[in-house]
């Protein structure tokens, strides 16, 4: 198992930063049953983050990292945006290369890892904002679905280009006023979850990150289905509290209120995906 790479040389233990030593000693490796309930008692794979205080993106990333069934063999591909500020703090193999090309980079990585390690499950997960996934990167997102790449794509939908200071995105709801849409957005929010279904994803979910346990289940199912079948897509509401004028402790309430409307929990599974999920359930992994 590749988690041996986190073993610190005994000779260097006194000079290696303590969080790196903790990774070896207190993180959960080699245990696919790990999950969000481990968060308070184990070492997290995210050291710190430089997002705004209370940004729901940070909660989402922590839940996702805690839920990965196979972190020691998981590669995460990112894009430009607020999330890219978090990436260098993640103690897994991560990539940031350009804005919008995340599903292309992930396709190249996944195909080569299958070629180089045919007998090993190496999970590739894409994690990017709504601008990256649906506007500038839509072509590459959908084309990776068409090609049936075995990757899990997670979109952090905050309904805005947050990192550049609050401009309208394709996922902004119609009528909402943001920069570059001074008269309000003129067209509907792009139904990305539906596009994912139509483009060949085997598992699709839409939810807010108000419930950590639900996030865990969805992440695990999506990753297992991607490993066995093909593309899976998760659409998360992670509101940009800064751009919609909320306080740092308001994120959870905002998500809970959207749980009842445009981010009401929605899930889609192909019959094949159902079989995969049933198999993993039978093994006690879900």
């Amino acid at each position: 198992m590749a988690y041996k790479i986190y073993k610190v040389n005994e000779e260097f233990k006194d000079i290696v930063p303590e969080e790196v030593v903790e990774l070896e000693e207190k993180a959960t490796w080699g245990n696919p049953k790990r999950g969000v309930m481990d968060l308070p008692v184990t070492k997290e794979l995210l050291e710190e983050h430089s997002l705004c205080a209370g940004c729901p993106e940070s909660a989402a990333i922590r839940y996702i990292l805690a839920s990965l069934p196979n972190p020691e063999d998981t590669i995460i591909v990112n894009s430009t945006g607020c999330t890219s500020l978090v990436f260098p703090h993640i103690s897994l193999h991560t990539v940031h290369s350009l804005f919008g090309n995340q599903n292309s980079v992930a396709s190249g990585i996944k195909r080569v890892l299958e070629w180089r390690f045919p007998d090993k499950a190496k999970d590739v997960v894409v994690l990017a904002g709504d601008g990256a996934t649906v506007d500038i990167g839509l072509d590459y997102t959908l084309q990776s679905f068409f090609r049936q790449e075995k990757i899990t794509t997670i979109c952090f939908d905050n309904e805005v280009y947050a990192n550049t200071g609050g401009q309208e995105s394709g996922l902004t709801p119609k009528g909402h006023v943001f920069k570059m849409a001074p008269k309000g957005k003129l067209f509907d929010k792009v139904p990305m979850w539906q596009l994912a279904i139509d483009s060949g994803c085997h598992y699709v979910a839409r939810l807010t990150v108000s419930s950590p346990k639900k996030v865990e289940r969805v992440i695990k199912e999506a990753i297992y289905v991607a490993r066995e079948l093909g593309p899976t897509y998760i659409h998360l509401y992670t509101p940009c509290i800064l751009e919609i004028g909320l306080n740092s402790d308001d994120g959870l309430d905002e998500m809970r209120s959207r749980d009842k409307e445009r981010f009401a929990f929605f899930e889609y599974k192909t019959p094949h995906a159902e079989e995969v999920i049933a198999k993993y359930k039978a093994e006690g992994l879900l």
Partner: protein, 395 residues
């Protein structure tokens, strides 16, 4: 040839693994007759290539699909058609990050569509090889040979080599991997040829046997961590410099860009070895009339050298550049010691090679530097035109 337990070592395609030196310089060669596109296939066949992603655009489509045939035949590990060149160049980037030897091809508008990826490749320190079959960039649309796009690529942090003909293209592709993958180099290499003039022209070519191949890529010699979760991650930082507005961040970004350029500089000794010099001369050594050129312009200049000698009794020579990045400053300085007139024939409207040569020789040479003839948009460069230009200047 590497041996293990007295057994010949083979790659996944069953080819005997030999050293780059053996493949390039020692293996017996047989004469064939083929186009530049077919020569790409023959080179890739002997290069133990792990992955390639393709996209059609004239004049490189044939080379790109022939690599696909090699995949179907079991010589290439991973191959597919990408969605467009931006996607393709990101897909090959991902493939290289995951530890693969990667090759792809493009031309003209494809290069521009992909552009954001090239500095990303070099900054990521992946030794991707791009075979560039230069084609016009213009509106209205042109598919003809024209190498303006090479100008755009000069400062992307990629090595840029220029092959004159089908034979050189074959050898350069193999040498390209050998040089780009050196741990102290490890930057992308763009192997350029003129579209049609090389891609579509059938020429004599000498090929080593096809049951031998380069040693497979050794990903763990990379100066950057391979993204395969088999070695510790390299970007786990307490205080990352990404997008930070502080002096350390600025300094890191500045020094990394310098480092990429330094890596290209460090490629010089390897390129000299595997290309047998960064430049090549043709004609009378001490000539006062010197042509500096690359690619097809060098071929045409050689014809002009013959014609000048035969019809006018004027001695001249060609200094052919095989590498543009790194730029062969010393070689050019040495080769133009006796020059009075330096002509730079080019297949583009801007004269990027003239600009490069002027910069290299500024305050170091008294020769007159003349950026002519210059043709573009698919026009050819007959030797008569070159000779006429020379006579106009020197008489």
């Amino acid at each position: 040839m590497r041996m293990i337990e007295n057994k010949v070592e083979k790659n996944w395609a069953g080819q005997r693994i030999v050293s780059p030196d053996y493949l390039l310089f020692e293996a017996p060669r047989e004469k064939h007759f083929m186009t530049g596109s077919e020569a790409v296939k023959e080179a890739v066949k002997r290069a133990s290539v792990d992955a390639s992603v393709s996209y059609p655009i004239t004049p490189q489509s044939e080379a790109a699909h022939l690599i696909g045939e090699l995949w179907a035949e079991g010589y290439v590990g991973v191959y597919f058609r990408g969605e467009n060149e931006f996607g393709v160049m990101s897909e090959v980037a991902g493939a290289a990050m995951a530890g693969a030897r990667v090759i792809t091809t493009t031309s003209g508008p494809g290069t521009l569509r992909a552009f954001e990826n090239f500095p990303m490749w070099s900054g990521t320190r992946i030794p991707v090889q791009l075979v560039l079959m230069a084609r016009g960039v213009n509106s209205p649309l042109s598919i003809q040979p024209d190498n303006l796009e090479v100008d755009f690529l000069l400062d992307t942090g990629c090595m840029i080599w220029y092959a004159e003909n089908v034979q050189e293209l074959f050898d350069m592709i193999l040498a390209g991997f050998a040089v780009a993958e050196q741990p102290d180099v490890h930057v992308p290499v763009i192997t350029a040829v003129d579209g049609f003039f090389v891609s579509h022209t059938r020429e004599a070519i000498y090929l080593p046997p096809d049951d031998i191949a380069l040693p497979p890529y050794a990903p763990y010699k990379s100066p950057m961590p391979v993204i395969d979760a088999e070695i510790p991650p390299g970007r786990f930082l307490r205080d990352p410099f990404v997008m930070k507005s502080n002096y350390i961040s600025y300094a890191t970004h500045a020094s990394w860009q310098w480092e990429v350029r330094s890596a290209i500089e460090r490629s010089r000794p390897y390129a000299k070895h595997y290309l047998k010099g960064l430049t090549e001369e043709f004609g009378e050594k001490d000539s006062e009339v010197v042509f500096i050129a690359c690619g097809t312009a060098a071929s045409q200049a050689k014809e002009a050298v013959r014609m000048l000698e035969e019809t006018e009794g004027i001695k001249s020579k060609v200094v052919k550049l095989k590498t543009i990045r790194p730029f062969p400053y010393e070689e050019i300085l040495e080769a133009t010691k006796n020059a009075k007139y330096i002509f730079i024939p080019e297949f583009n409207v801007v004269g990027w090679l003239e600009r490069e040569v002027r910069k290299a020789l500024y305050k170091k040479s008294d020769a007159e530097i003349i950026g002519t003839p210059r043709v573009a948009g698919g026009m050819t460069m007959p030797k008569e035109i070159i000779v006429r230009e020379v006579l106009e200047y020197i008489k």
